[in-house]
Amino acid sequence: MSELLLNRRKKRSRAPDICIIVLLSVIAFLQIFPFWLQIVTSLQPLDFQPESGKIYWWPVAATFSNYAEAIEHVDLWRGVVNSLIVSLGYTLLSAVVVLLVGYVVGKKDFAGKKVIKACLLITMMAPGELMMVTNYKLISDMGLLNTYAALILPGLVNVTGIFLVISFMNSIPNAVLESADIDGAGELTKLFKIVLPMSMPVIATYFILNFVAQWNDYLWPMVVTSDPDLFTIQLKLTEFTSYYGGFADNILRAAALIFTLVPVIIIYLCCQKQFVEGLSVTGMK
């Protein structure tokens, strides 16, 4: 009897399965399609002229030399170096802050903890961009415009990251910390010798999410830098100006776009788990 029921259920779910797969594939295709067009364009020879109204599914003669050309023309390496400095610098420094605050708020008892938690919540809810003008003025008054410091320092207390760490702290047993107390370990010893090694998964998640976020950010860099030598890769993209004229520009622009997107896609392919974790932890509190 139960077998019969199971069979029926299996049969019923087969047909819709195919419909669902087709529908989802269409959506996935629509999402990839514009990027595929860019990949094809980026591989066309520089003197290529497209026929009007024709979609090129494949380059007429694939060449990677456009990438070298685009990198040189847009000065993309400079952008890569700047983006790496900012992304790594920000992520590493803020990871220390996030771990420290997450540990103290998540694991310690002290007066005023509720107030601090409330402040964290308010900060997360308040749109940070509101403070763009005043922070821009502050950075400018401090003489920090067009420095790496301006790009890295203002956002170091990452509230979303703090919540990520706080929720992770539940998985560190209090007994471990208590036994360290009995051994007479100081707070810093506990933080770096016990909490840090045990928190590696959440630090990895934090690191990957924020590295990508920094790599992709353009607004704050646009506010505080005007010197092309300090432009992050996203700003380099917006600064793309006409070079050859005509379709050759489109080819170079496509190459620059794909070049900027590829590192992020590679990170995604390697660390999908972390992206989903970051979402579900901050999202499902």
Binding site: D17, P34, K108, M131, L257
Partner: protein, 305 residues
């Protein structure tokens, strides 16, 4: 003896507080400077005619707010932001919810589709805008226009046509922007107890009815959270407008100007910081109101016990 013990206890508590605050001191100072101070200063500046130099403030009062009410560009920015927020919140959440449900219903291959539909979350604002510029290029050589011409139609002005510019900017974010919502809905679907669904199956065969009457009420917290982040995120929209519109300021004829973009144009490029801060304060108030209204509608988001 007893009193000594008591004292020691208080001492330990105090010491614990001191260590905690010592450890938190630097982050608190940092937060104080770049959040609290910046926040309070923004409110203060909004009541002044600050341009850039604080020593040159000559007027104090509500004049910025009065000016906002008669500022046509701000009115346009406000309307555009509201239209954008409503349309994009609905689009991203409806598509996200349906796609998540479809993937959830799959017996096989759900992981592949999750991965395949989640990657657009990595596309930066700059890249997305560049793609919009290429596909919806108003010239005859634009990807869509050249197809329209080949099929014998008239090319459209897309983001250069004030009537459809805002709509044009919505297309790519609709197609690519639902991945976060989708993932959160999917995780929520996984948490719904099977017994609820099986009970409902006895009553109806319609998957849509089951989604609407069984799943949706049971994933209220995911729904509330998604709506909140969508509304707050979309209220702050400025990237597609800034990066796609020809003048970078929300043109043509302010058809794509938004509150945040206007704030940027006034505060950062236009050196009207006092006015920009007033725009920011209005924005904060609107977001707070929307947040409260949204909470009232969907409840606090408590799921099944």
């Amino acid at each position: 003896m007893k009193s000594v013990k008591g004292k020691r206890l208080i001492g330990r508590k105090a010491r614990r507080n001191i260590t905690a605050y010592l450890m938190l001191s630097l982050p608190i100072i940092w937060w104080g400077v770049f959040f609290l101070f910046a926040f309070i200063r923004a409110i203060y500046f909004s009541f002044t005619d600050l341009r850039f130099d604080e020593s040159q403030i000559s007027e104090y009062g509500f004049q910025n707010y009065v000016r906002l009410f008669s500022d046509e560009t701000f009115g346009k920015a406000f309307a555009n932001t509201m239209i954008w927020t409503v349309v994009m919140t609905l689009a991203n959440n409806v598509i996200g919810l349906l796609v998540a449900f479809l993937i959830f219903r799959l017996t096989k291959g759900s992981k592949i589709f999750l991965a395949l539909l989640f990657w657009p979350t990595l596309v930066s604002a700059v890249i997305g805008s560049e793609i919009t510029k290429i596909i919806f290029n108003p010239g005859d050589s634009g990807v869509l226009n050249s197809i329209i011409i080949a099929m014998g139609g008239n090319p459209l002005g897309w983001y250069n046509d004030p009537n459809i510019a805002l709509f044009t900017l919505m297309i790519l974010p609709t197609l690519l922007g639902f991945s976060t919502q989708m993932m959160i809905y999917y995780v929520a679907f996984m948490g719904v107890p099977k017994s609820y669904v099986e009970a409902a199956r006895l009553e109806t065969k319609s998957n849509f009815k089951i989604l609407w009457h069984v799943y949706v009420p049971l994933i209220k917290s995911a729904l509330t959270y998604n709506l909140l982040i969508s509304i707050v995120g979309n209220m702050k929209i400025m990237a597609p407008m800034q990066l796609v519109s020809v003048d970078g300021a929300g043109g043509p004829f302010d058809s794509t100007v938004t509150i945040m973009l206007y704030l940027y144009n006034k505060g950062i490029t236009g050196y009207e910081m006092g006015y920009a801060c007033a725009i920011g304060v209005i924005m904060l108030i609107v977001i707070l109101i929307l947040g409260v209204v949204q909470m009232k509608f969907t409840g606090k988001g408590e799921d099944y016990e």
